[in-house]
């Protein structure tokens, strides 16, 4: 990986983490478009099929810090998973072209 790409990932992760830190304070607590539409037509909340460890991007017992931590964990997991998957899926050059 070139230095440029390392900077790109570092800057990208920093931007994501800044969003994660601001989001619990700035994000609107109002229901989103789909939830509100469901309310409008009288459909209630449903149970999730699998229990998630951090429901609604929060960690039990921790307030805003928990939300920031949950988002930060999610960002790092997503980054790593996407990186690994992209490496597995990427184009393979013929052997004579690879260094």
């Amino acid at each position: 990986m070139s230095t440029n790409d390392k900077y790109f990932i570092i800057v990208g992760v920093i931007i994501c983490l800044v969003i994660a830190c601001m989001s619990p304070f700035l994000a609107s607590p109002d229901p989103d478009g789909l939830e509100k539409s469901a309310e409008n037509v009288g459909v209630g909340e449903t149970e999730a099929a699998v229990e998630s460890p951090m429901p609604d991007y929060s960690i039990e017992g921790l307030d805003k810090i928990g939300e920031i931590a949950a988002l930060a964990i999610g960002i790092i997991i997503t980054l790593i998973v996407a990186y690994v998957v992209a490496m597995l899926l990427r184009r393979r050059n013929p052997p004579e072209n690879s260094p």
Binding site: M1, N4, D5, F8, I9, G12, V13, I15, C16, L17, I19, A20, M22, S23, L26, A27, S28, P29, D30, P31, D32, G33, L34, E35, K36, S37, A38, N40, V41, V43, T46, E47, A48, A49, V50, E51, S52, P53, M54, P55, D56, Y57, A70, L71, G74, I75, I77, T78, L79, I80, V81, A82, Y83, V85, A86, M87, L89, R90, R91, R92
Partner: protein, 224 residues
Amino acid sequence: MHIPDGFIPLWQCAIYYVILIVALYFSLQWARKNLDEKAVPLMAVLAAGIFAIMSMNMPIPFGTSGHMVGGALVAIVFCAPEAAVIIFTLVLLIQALFFGDGGITALGANVLNMGIVGGFVGLYTFKGLRKPIGKYPAIFIAAWLAIFLAAELAAVEMWIAGTFPLEAGLASMGIYHFFIGIIEGILTVVVIYALEKLRPDLLAWNKNKKLGEQKAEESEVTAK
């Protein structure tokens, strides 16, 4: 607009999963041919960024909120809706499994709306409008239309599922996402503008000049 578990009957979820698997098959083929090693960090950062930005619910009128989705963004940056399919499958899977955002049974439907439809509508609207109205206005409209149509499709799915009545669902989702789309459009333009200024080498349309020549040569060779 993450559809939770329980909004769509399981047999219909299965149909959306079949669509997802077919879309993933073509996307993996695309990746084998076109996903450069240089694009791997871009894909990772875009996935993380989409995860992050989806948490930032912005207030819109009528006591509701909405977040950016980014299907058009990914498809335009890679010049390939297949990239959006791959990224959204990963992000939505992580959100469903770890954070209970969007149902795991509704994963197929959610990827269909945000990744597949978002990606295709975003990219081809951009391509169609780029020449007549210019690059950045085209990106804005493409991103707006992508999220708007994704939301309307979600409303149709809810109607097929018997969860929403058709007209009320379309009207409700349409009005909210009309406004969310404006935020989506602005942010998509900002992100692509920043990439164009800082890392133009990462944008697929800047590579196409070289690739286009190569492809032309290849096709000549195969034609012979």
